[in-house]
Subunit: 304 residues, 2 copies
């Protein structure tokens, strides 16, 4: 099952030349899930060949402009391009009020259902549970109400050992039950234990998205053992005071969080406009957690 | 005096690959005036090296997203980048309501005065009158309340004939009066007529911005004799029915309007996303008005 994230924006606060504010798109089993939607996200999607028509879920972390100002434009384009299927939107209180006001004054009635679920920014909650994935909010510690999101793959059914099942000439109609763990009994009463017919499916993977937040141990347990952790790293650690004042994280802290929460891999983003190049931020995070990469725009990370 | 316009966006309705929705920036005597501000305008400004800090006036034609969705992002960036001087904003009713709602929920108090003037979308009105320029709204015929804007250079003072003034050893303190048309009388009573000391300044130039609108003669008189006319040309004339339904103009109509209103030059823009190349639109407008160019992004037109 495909499980990967493509970075559409990695800048904090304002766009700078060649760096757009935050947006990411997850491909989960060929369905697209958009996380945050800064101004220019739809242009970035054109640039990186991400089809808006394939997005069914959008998640907005908070109402700072660098995380949602591209949303109304994207919804308008979906509308103008003939979308009919429902779009599921998750975000903090007041997001719909902002959207509705702008649709009202442009005299736009969307041709598709926009199904909004308000996130609880104080308490982790499960907001999506479908065939592929369970998604929870992560209450974060920012200047205004803000949540991250954690995407937990579901455990898949066991895999048939093809040669074994064929050699025994087990009828196809038994396959699903066997994948679910049942033993197989022949007409003559011979029993084949399940673990001789199947192997376990891959361990479910987890993607944790943490932006924007200051270092706060309260969310560490929830994100523990992530296969891939995205964590904001707005500043170098020499600017810790500024990070604390603005409720952001330093690159060193992001590395420490990945280490403490036992992440398999870390990507850092949400870089302050003051950093024209990003090597120092990467090096700093790596001093705490070597398996770190930069969330550069256009880059796709397979969650494996 | 510098008087030129740079195109930041030329697409209608939605961005497409390599074409952003509407925005333009006028340089009038080294002051910048922004007309419309679609999503991604601040990114286009970075791309084309237009400094947001130099903009003192912003004009929004109407509340369709492809003309204003970049505004809150631009205001936020100005705020974050330390702007202190006032910004003068002109736009239709409800624009401030939209801005204020978004500032409220991001808990942002702008560090600079944002001085809003609501445009009257039914009646032409003078909205700016400073040392360089007089700006009027142009009520247009669109699906929602919409105005264009016309920028009329002020007549400058007469120009001194330098050699003549110097030969007569006229003291510098007399220069302004002479530029204003006064004769010069020497201490001995000799009178030099003004037209022997000065020449007339250049004829004032006019830039008319007409987007979005359907063909409607009501605004033709107001835009007559424009030095440069920007007119939307969303469709080819074969799509006239669609143009009328959506209250837009065809390229042929734009050419006809330039001809009827005696424009010196025409630029067309606001191209529908259906046109991947623009040659046909240009050719069609030229059949009515040969001195036409495409409002391509990044291009600067001197108004002369």
């Amino acid at each position: 099952m495909k499980f990967e994230v493509t970075i559409l924006g990695s800048s904090s606060a304002t766009p700078i030349f060649n760096r757009n504010p935050t947006a990411q798109v997850l491909n989960i089993n060929e369905h697209l899930y958009l996380i945050d939607c800064a101004e220019g996200t739809q242009q970035q999607m054109l640039r990186f060949d991400v089809k808006a028509s394939r997005i069914d879920y959008i998640f907005i972390s908070h109402l700072h402009g660098d995380h949602y100002l591209g949303l109304v434009g994207l919804l308008s384009s979906m509308h103008l391009n003939g979308r009919k299927k429902a779009l599921y939107l998750y975000g903090p209180p007041h997001l719909m009020e902002i959207i509705e006001l702008q649709l009202k004054y442009s005299e736009t009635t969307l041709h598709f259902p926009l199904v909004f679920t308000q996130t609880n920014t104080l308490k982790a909650q499960e907001i999506v549970n479908n065939n592929d994935i369970i998604i929870e909010t992560i209450p974060l510690d920012h200047r205004i109400d803000c949540t991250g999101f954690i995407f937990r793959q579901k455990k898949r059914l066991r895999k048939l050992i093809k040669e074994r099942v064929e050699a025994l000439e087990i009828p196809i109609e038994y396959y699903t039950a066997i994948k679910k763990g049942k033993d197989y009994t022949t007409n003559s009463g011979q029993v084949y234990k399940n673990d001789t017919l199947t192997i376990d499916s891959d361990a479910p993977k987890t993607y944790a998205y943490c932006s924007d937040t200051m270092y706060n141990e309260q969310y560490f347990e929830q994100i523990s053992n992530a296969t891939l952790l995205y964590h904001e790293a707005t500043f170098l650690h020499e600017m810790l005071d500024r990070a604390n004042d603005t409720h952001h994280t330093t690159a060193l802290q992001a590395g420490e969080i990945a280490l403490k929460t036992n992440a398999k891999k870390l990507i850092i983003g949400h870089f302050s406009a003051r950093y024209k190049t990003l090597g120092e931020l990467l090096d700093e995070a790596k001093t705490a957690f070597p398996n770190t990469e930069l969330a550069l725009e256009g880059r796709t990370f397979v969650i494996e």
